[in-house]
Amino acid sequence: MSAWISSHLLTFLVFAPLFWGLIVIAFPERLAPLARLLALLGSTGVFFIALIHLLRASPEYGALFDERIPWFTIVGLPVDYHLAADGLNLWLVLLTTFLTPLTLFGTWNSITKRAGTAAALFLLLEAGMLGALLAQDLLLFYLFWEAMLLPMYFLIGVWGGEDRKYAANKFILYTLAGSLLWLVALLYVASKAGSFAPPLMAQAVQTLPDKVQKTLFLAFALAFAVKIPLFPLHTWLPDAHTEAPTAGSVILAGVLLKLGTYGFIRFAIPMFPSAFIHYAQALAILSVIAIIYGALVAMVQWDIKKLVAYSSVSHMGFVMLGISSMTVIGTQGAMLQMLNHGISTGALFLLVGMLYDRAHTRMIADFGGVASKMPIFTTFFLIVTLSSIGLPLTNGFVGEFLILNGTYIAGFAWGRMIAILATLGIVLGAVYLLWMVKRVFWGPVNTDEDSGTAHLHEDLNAREIAVLVPIVVMIFWMGLHPQTFLASSQAPVEQLLKEAKAPAPRMSVMQVQGVKP
């Protein structure tokens, strides 16, 4: 078994959660606690197996694991079952396997009805996400991309809040709207290339007229931008987050959104390098709008969860900004920021969920003086908030710094202006998060009987602390020694940008001084 796993690690990573989930989903409702426990153990096992195997391989050299067999050929197009782990997806895969058991454990008592089914859907979702992250064949990627919608749809729709039906439908329709047009573009390129393998498709794209390339790129970009979500396609996200159960929000923010930006790095840039360079500035401007707009809207939210949801729009804007800078440093920053956002925002959703489980409200006005009632909770919340703001020493700082640095030297016009505007987003981030912290945690205890604070009787229990400690460890690890996470993607990112013929970054300020360009 162990030997089989070593040689088929990626298949195992994708299909173990799938089959485990199918077993767990068959449990009757009275065995829900057992089902939930099995789901937790299964996903923990997957995490450790992924951790051991992926870290043992040395990350500097190309693909760590590669599994490729022809799958099927219908209508004249061969489709390969091709999974690979390399520097670009290594940490995202680990993040996914890390967050799934953590979320299941962290929301242990949040879901009371049909908890076993929810846990099983989680495993199916994990399988879909891992499949999409690892897939190297575009049709395979598409299949996983679509397949992971369904578990999320049902998680939001069945276990969500008041408006869950609306939110779930909006979620699935938005995503499908993007991906169906993308499918047409995919079929177009594939029928030219005669294959779904990205290198062959990239070659076929080169032979197409410039205008067609741009249109095709826009179709790809649309699908990924909906997922990220990039302004102005973000409107499904706040609804989905607000209505989703805590666990759903954590995974949605933690991993699902990353697939959009990952899609850009993995497929859109290598396949359409010139179109990407052409649209890089426009994407950067949209990203900055997302950063500032997301922050401004977050500032006026009354609901903590919605605030975090809009902060997500803002933070994902940073990731996209880093990618569109087309510089190694900016893209590396984006790679790191994807992990940061997964950890920090995921943790914020977890924390908000813990608060909600106790107080049954998420309105900021219902709280006040929580710090005096739940000191341990407040400590964790503050650490995570500061990391989300991007305080030095925490992970958020490193990622945002690299991204801003990359944008500042980006090859397109107005790069510096865009970087400066994006920096404003960090300031605004501090404003809305700290203002929320002030109103919820500090100040006099809200003495109103119906208020949320009045329902807070106990601080975090051992289980919740056990969930949060690894997250805090990760926050500081990534803040203090980001090289751990950046080393593996350095070479692939450099190669990616070299092959894309990215415009040379500008000189740094000091070199430019006195020299007329």
Partner: protein, 498 residues
């Protein structure tokens, strides 16, 4: 070829036809105590006839024997159509047993009519001779008119049957008129011969154009493509659920398979003026069908009307393959039809499995039922997701194959329209899973349901499970189905016409 007199070609049709003649005799006995046994025996006999025919055809398939009897040729395409129709009919009979018991209306004529219709469909798909085509068309249509009005005490059943009959009669006469005109122009009734004569003829005879258009109208009507779709929702709503399912699957299926068979003749080589016009007409009908079907389905409150418009929209996707017109697109059509058989029989079967009869066929009546009967509901949900074209179900691969060929032949605009149409369809298909899983039952409906006898529909439930399994199997093992079965049909058939 005309000299061939191989009776093996007739046998698949003859078995259900013979059973159809015998069944009404069994229905004569009115003795109450014997009724139960007679019913059972009738259904058993019908199943036996279908199974017999099925095994006979599969045996022909496996030996590769392609018998010909005069103008009727049981080639691979006809064998495929026969298997398709027989499976649909068998699922229908099983669902009919439960549905008619729920309705309290178990009479013998239903099965006899159904089996006659099955024979007619096999004839319809096994020939290129226009007169035989017409006989087949009438032979399967007339029983369906009667079947639509099975529950004749109900006004909407009579209305649906009448509407279907009147419009159907007009369509059939158009078909006949078209056949006559084409005969007048070319002097032959065999479409493949006709194609050769039309392609060598200089210029385009307007009579041939009118004839082809009228002929096409007959096919589009049976496939319920816009603008000849108006009968569909009313007929489906009035008909018993399984009959509606049978009409949506088998009628559409055989209409398209028969169109496929005469298509090369009709377009006369493809590049002729007539061919271009026919293709344009089909493209127009496909676009209209997708738009009308999907947009109208969005606003339906009753499940059967929604499914009726959905079935219209699927005719649109299928017709797109004729616009592409490549062998691989036709492979896509046949694959799509197999997928469609499974997913639509499953979707209609859900209604019978939950015992929704009469006025109780609304989304509200499905609320919260998913958690009560998870097995059937999961299978039905899979069928609906497949109708919506969400991977990894069969429906996705059906669309994938057709759209890919469409893109490859340069019809990108049409493809974009088609994917947008299927995006719209996701919303209304999801309404059933939403009702099943996401919503709480309404108290008034729960109370009402408590008064009714407990739903017992073992056969219908089983068919839904089978359909759900098929949808997944066709999704995961698409290669087996395509390369081992569907592509062979097209290859052999293309060999024949060449």
């Amino acid at each position: 070829m005309t000299g061939a007199r191989d009776l093996a070609a007739l046998l698949p049709l003859a078995i259900p036809a013979a059973a159809a003649c015998l069944l009404p005799i069994a229905a004569l006995d009115k003795d109450q105590s014997a009724q139960k046994w007679i019913r059972g025996a009738m259904f058993f006999m019908a199943m036996l006839a279908l199974l017999g025919s099925f095994f006979y055809v599969t045996q022909l398939w496996s030996t590769g024997h392609q018998p010909v009897y005069a103008q009727l040729s049981m080639d691979r395409l006809a064998q495929f159509a026969a298997i398709f129709v027989l499976i649909a009919a068998a699922l229908t009979v099983l669902q009919l047993w439960d549905h008619l018991h729920q309705e309290g209306w178990v009479k013998g004529e239903c099965l006899a009519l159904l089996l006659t219709s099955v024979s007619g469909m096999m004839l319809f798909t096994a020939t290129t001779h226009l007169m035989l085509l017409f006989i087949g068309l009438e032979l399967f249509s007339i029983p369906l008119y009667a079947l639509t009005a099975t529950l004749r005490t109900r006004s909407e059943a009579a209305e649906g049957g009448m509407k279907y009959f009147l419009t159907g009669a007009v369509a059939s006469s158009c078909f006949l008129m078209g056949a006559v005109l084409l005969y007048g122009v070319t002097g032959t009734l065999d479409v493949s011969e006709m194609g050769i004569r039309l392609s060598v003829a200089k210029g385009l005879d307007p009579l041939a154009l009118v004839g082809a258009a009228l002929l096409l109208l007959g096919f589009l009507f049976k496939a319920s493509a816009a603008p000849f779709h108006q009968w569909t929702p009313d007929a489906y709503e009035g008909a018993p659920h399984p009959i509606a399912a049978f009409m949506s699957v088998a009628t559409k299926g055989v209409a398209l398979i028969a169109l496929l068979r005469i298509f090369p003749g009709l377009v006369a080589g493809g590049d002729s003026l007539l061919g271009v016009k026919v293709r344009m007409a089909i493209a127009l009908a496909a676009v209209l069908t997708m738009i009308v079907g999907n947009l109208t389905a969005l606003v339906q409150t009753r499940i059967k009307r929604m499914l009726a418009y959905s079935s219209i929209s699927h005719a649109g996707y299928l017709l797109l393959a004729f616009v592409a017109g490549t062998p691989q697109a036709f492979t896509g059509v046949l694959f799509y039809l197999v997928a469609y058989l499974a997913m639509n029989m499953g979707a209609f079967g859900l209604l019978t499995a939950f015992g929704l009869v009469g006025e109780r066929v609304t989304f509200d009546h499905l609320r919260g039922l998913g958690w009560k009967r998870p097995g059937v509901s999961i299978a039905a949900t899979l069928c609906l997701l497949s109708l919506a074209g969400i991977p990894p179900t069969a429906g996705f691969f059906g669309k994938y194959m057709i759209f890919k060929e469409l893109v490859q032949t340069g019809h990108v605009g049409l493809t974009v329209l088609a994917v947008l149409a299927s995006l719209v369809s996701v919303y209304y298909y999801l309404r059933i899973p939403v009702a099943l899983w996401l919503e709480q039952p309404k108290t008034s409906i729960e109370r009402e349901a408590a008064e009714l006898p407990a739903v017992d529909a073992p056969f219908a439930g089983a068919t839904v499970l089978v359909c759900g399994a098929l949808v997944l199997a066709c999704g995961f093992l698409q290669t087996l189905l395509v390369n081992g079965f569907v592509a062979r049909v097209i290859r052999d058939w293309m060999g024949i016409i060449r």
